[in-house]
């Protein structure tokens, strides 16, 4: 305690405090980078990088840089060799013989063998494991018995020799190779997984073009280039993923050059699009996704087709897309995204509020408010309110219930709601991915069919498409199935969102892909 606290001390005290403060400020700079590394933003810390456990886009995006599968997708969404240099398909698409490249090494120096592939696949199916991705590989013969604990081995996976592995399916399944491009089917080293146990998700060891150098959880994840990558080293020395939860903070970091590429937050979209400095640095990719308004078709009021039709006619989704959504998407004709559809969709419902009113007049009056469930995402809540106001105009009373994501999913899986808003993003680029999980009656609730839609004809067509070896036959089945779905309106398909990113002018060869597993990070450069 100073003995004197007169004016003099008061002034000098305050003064030196301010001086110290200013000195610290002057000594600082806002820029902070490792030379040769490319900087990306993550909204939140990736939960895990163990391919068996990853179930979010962030984890999947990073895992793609660390691991490889037997096959992968190229930029045209075609299946191309990855760890497997070639393969032969037999039994009309029910068996596959994969020949592995020689000399592909994990970051620990050990060569990838067919045994590692088998181990990785069995790990996904293991009934004692925590992986929730067993559906990716459960088409393999004997997988279901293994999952149920009735078998100790998966009969359909056979290691022929060190570099050859055979996979037999229960029955032909046309999108099987696509499934093998997914994160869950990445190959992991048996020794490391056994050694690290649950810590493998934090210290992943893979074959990819990058390896984890440092992970300060919730702050920064640094990947370092793997110079021995079997397709040649990446152009950049490494990748830094910075965890920045707040959009405005990320925009600031980007503008002062601490981030090189940024997914544009919705509210910044028009500014970057129209700015002379940035507009030619904006990249876009048509996303493989569908945003939709779902109905609970299993109970009143929306078990009545007429009421679903009335709702579909009451909402001007084109206007919502143009105005509220700033045109950041393409209007959806049906559930299958335009990029994957090779057929016509007949007569989706157009905006016609008079028709909606007429239908509502003819039908029994809905006596209680319609329970509309949404997540608490602010953008979703805004859309829900817009939909609510459209429906109010035709005489439908809608009550919006906002729920946290897991509570929302639990409620949908139970079928508590009348109507809900959600989106579906492709796991792989096949129409089957937008039909089977979402409309097949075996997937009611948690499987993906949250409208509880049941139509035997649709079930049959989807199954025929899955089994068809011929692409034309497949498209015919899927096309017919989608047309029936559009006619029955278990959903109102709204739009397919387009993703936009912005990059720094010095970033070269940057591309944005519709599916995150495509980007191995090897091309981008300065």
């Amino acid at each position: 305690m100073p003995r004197v606290i007169g004016n003099k001390i008061r002034k000098t005290g305050l003064f030196s405090y301010l001086i110290a403060f200013s000195l610290i400020l002057v000594a600082c700079t806002a820029r902070n980078r490792i030379e040769g590394y490319i900087y990306y933003r993550l909204n939140s810390n990736p939960t895990t990088l163990d391919p068996a456990l990853v179930n979010d886009v962030q984890g999947g995006t990073i895992s793609a840089k660390l691991f490889n599968g037997l096959v992968r997708l190229d930029r045209n969404l075609m299946v191309v060799p990855d760890i497997a240099e070639r393969w032969e398909t037999g039994e009309r698409g029910a068996s596959y013989l994969f020949h592995l490249r020689r000399g592909v090494k994990f970051a620990n120096g050990l060569e990838v063998t067919a045994r590692d592939v088998k181990f990785s696949f069995m790990r996904i199916l293991d009934p004692r494991g925590k992986s929730a991705n067993s559906w990716v590989l459960d088409k393999i013969a004997g997988a279901k018995e293994f999952i149920r604990g009735e078998a100790t081995d998966v009969a359909g996976i056979t290691v022929i020799d060190r570099h050859t592995i055979e996979i037999r399916l229960e029955r032909p399944f046309s999108p099987f190779l696509y499934l093998l491009t997914m994160t869950a089917a990445y190959v992991v080293p048996e020794e490391e997984v056994r050694k690290l146990g649950p810590d493998f998700g934090t210290h992943p060891v893979g074959t990819g073009p990058f390896a984890v150098k440092r992970w300060d959880h919730n702050s920064e994840l640094v990947l370092e280039r793997n110079d021995r990558y079997f397709e040649g080293p990446a152009q950049v020395k490494g990748i830094v993923y910075r965890v920045i939860p707040e959009d405005l903070t990320a925009v600031t970091e980007f503008e002062i050059g601490n981030l090189d590429v940024l997914t544009i937050p919705a509210y910044e979209y028009s500014r970057y699009r129209t700015s002379s400095r940035w507009s030619n640095l904006v990249a876009s990719a048509k996303g493989l996704n569908t945003y939709y308004l779902g109905f609970n078709c299993a109970r009143p009021p929306f078990n009545n087709f007429k009421l679903r039709e009335a709702v579909a006619c009451a909402i001007d989704k084109g206007k919502i897309l143009r105005t509220f959504y700033d045109g950041r998407g393409r209007l959806a004709e049906g559930p299958v995204p335009d990029l994957l559809r090779k057929w016509e969709v007949g007569a989706p419902r157009r905006y016609d509020p008079e028709r909606a009113k007429r239908i509502l007049k003819e039908e029994d009056k809905v006596t209680r408010p319609i329970q509309f469930y949404v997540t608490s995402d602010p953008e979703v809540v805004d859309i829900a309110e817009i939909i609510q106001s459209y429906l109010r105009k035709v005489g439908l009373d809608v009550k919006i219930t906002q729920l946290e994501w897991s509570a929302y999913k639990a409620a949908l899986n139970r079928g508590d709601e009348d109507m809900f808003w959600i989106s579906w993003w492709a796991d792989y680029p096949d129409p089957e991915n937008f039909l089977f999980p979402l409309f097949h009656s075996s997937n009611h609730g948690a499987g993906g069919n949250r409208t509880w839609y049941t139509n035997n004809e649709v079930d049959r067509l989807i199954e025929e498409g899955q089994a068809a070896g011929d692409a034309e036959e497949r498209d015919r089945c899927y096309g017919r199935a989608e047309n029936i779905i559009v006619r029955d309106i278990p959903w109102v398909s709204f739009w397919h969102r387009t993703d936009f990113t912005i990059r720094q002018p010095y970033v070269k060869k940057y591309r944005i892909y519709p599916i995150y597993t495509i980007d191995k990070g090897t091309e981008i450069s300065f």
Binding site: V4, N55, K130, T249, E404, W405, W424
Partner: protein, 310 residues
């Protein structure tokens, strides 16, 4: 004194058990289910029940509680459902960041806060008092998400002096620490002012003046020291709450502290993380209050005398 501290520490044990019970019951009563966050978009009842079993959520709440408490007694806090990492390791890693931010905020807030409060009290009713009062009330009323963003835009984007976000040394800490310090500075200035005004008119100050002690010494020793008790209480409470994390500030500035960690745990229903954070947070809160109590003992002779009387 030792007996006093021992009593306070002993009280911590039943308190913590009470807290584990309440927190456990409350987290389990929350709507939502971690399993649905773990299984992704495409699952089957079999996958759901497998994952539920794997994380031990298939057992009854009583069995899970007993299991958790026995785990705690071995010095463990379990692993996160999502990251599979040890909760204790994560808390230990994040705590220094939180502590640094809390200390930084206090270093920035306390000296000017007390000084402003003292000046305002000594110039009561005059222009300086009005300006300081208005200033401290506005600091108190400005929400951190607004002041934080403004500071970030000014120092990060416009002046390019400080990194807008990240966790690290002093230069990363400055912006979040200033943001966090602003409301505390306002509170401290207000409380100091009121408290000094209470003391100024006390008979012992008149006595001191009558004895001819220098005015500056009266201000520094007699007034300020006797006005400290409420100020120390406020500082202690603010500090303890910062030790439990400052979610908004940490989120805006991407600061890797306990607040964000707890919040993410709550959003994902990651029960081991929620429990671990709350237990550690409560302990720190209680300990911080204990330190304040001990400080009273030294600042206020009345506390000492009452202590010896007993």
């Amino acid at each position: 004194m030792n007996c006093y501290i021992a009593k306070k520490v002993a009280l911590l044990v039943p308190l913590l058990f009470g807290i584990t019970f309440i927190t456990f019951a409350l987290t389990n009563a929350l709507p939502g289910d971690p399993v649905y966050n773990l299984v992704g978009e495409r699952s089957t009842p079999e996958i759901i029940s497998k994952v539920r079993k794997e994380i031990g959520a298939d057992k009854g709440i009583a069995r899970r509680y007993v299991g958790y408490v026995s785990l705690l007694l071995t010095g463990e806090m379990g692993r996160s459902y999502f990251t599979n990492r040890r909760v204790l390791d994560d808390i230990v890693a994040k705590f220094p960041n939180t502590l640094m931010l809390a200390l930084g905020a206090m270093v920035i807030a306390v000296p000017p806060g007390m000084l402003l409060g003292l000046i305002a009290a000594l110039k009561k009713g005059r222009f300086a008092d009005r300006v300081i009062s208005a200033f401290s009330i506005s600091l108190l009323s400005v929400p951190v998400f607004w002041s934080g963003l403004l500071l970030m835009l000014l120092f990060g984007l416009v002046l390019k002096l400080l990194p807008p976000s990240g966790t690290g040394g002093l230069r990363y800490m400055l912006l979040p620490a200033i943001t966090l310090s602003l409301p505390a500075l306002g509170t401290i200035a207000r409380v100091t002012r009121v408290s000094v005004l209470d003391v100024v008119d006390m008979p012992f100050i008149r006595t001191a003046r009558a004895k001819g002690i220098a005015s500056s010494r009266i201000k520094a020793v007699h007034i300020l020291k006797n006005a400290l008790i409420p100020v120390v209480t406020v500082i202690g409470l603010d500090f303890a709450s910062y030790l439990n994390g400052a979610v908004l500030t940490e989120t805006i500035f991407g600061w890797d502290g306990i607040g964000r960690f707890t919040m993410e745990g709550i959003i994902k229903r990651d029960y081991p993380v929620i429990m671990g954070c709350i237990i550690v947070g409560t302990t720190l809160f209680v300990l911080s209050n204990l330190v304040v109590d001990i400080l009273y003992y030294y600042i206020d002779p009345r506390v000492r005398i009452r202590g010896t009387d007993r």
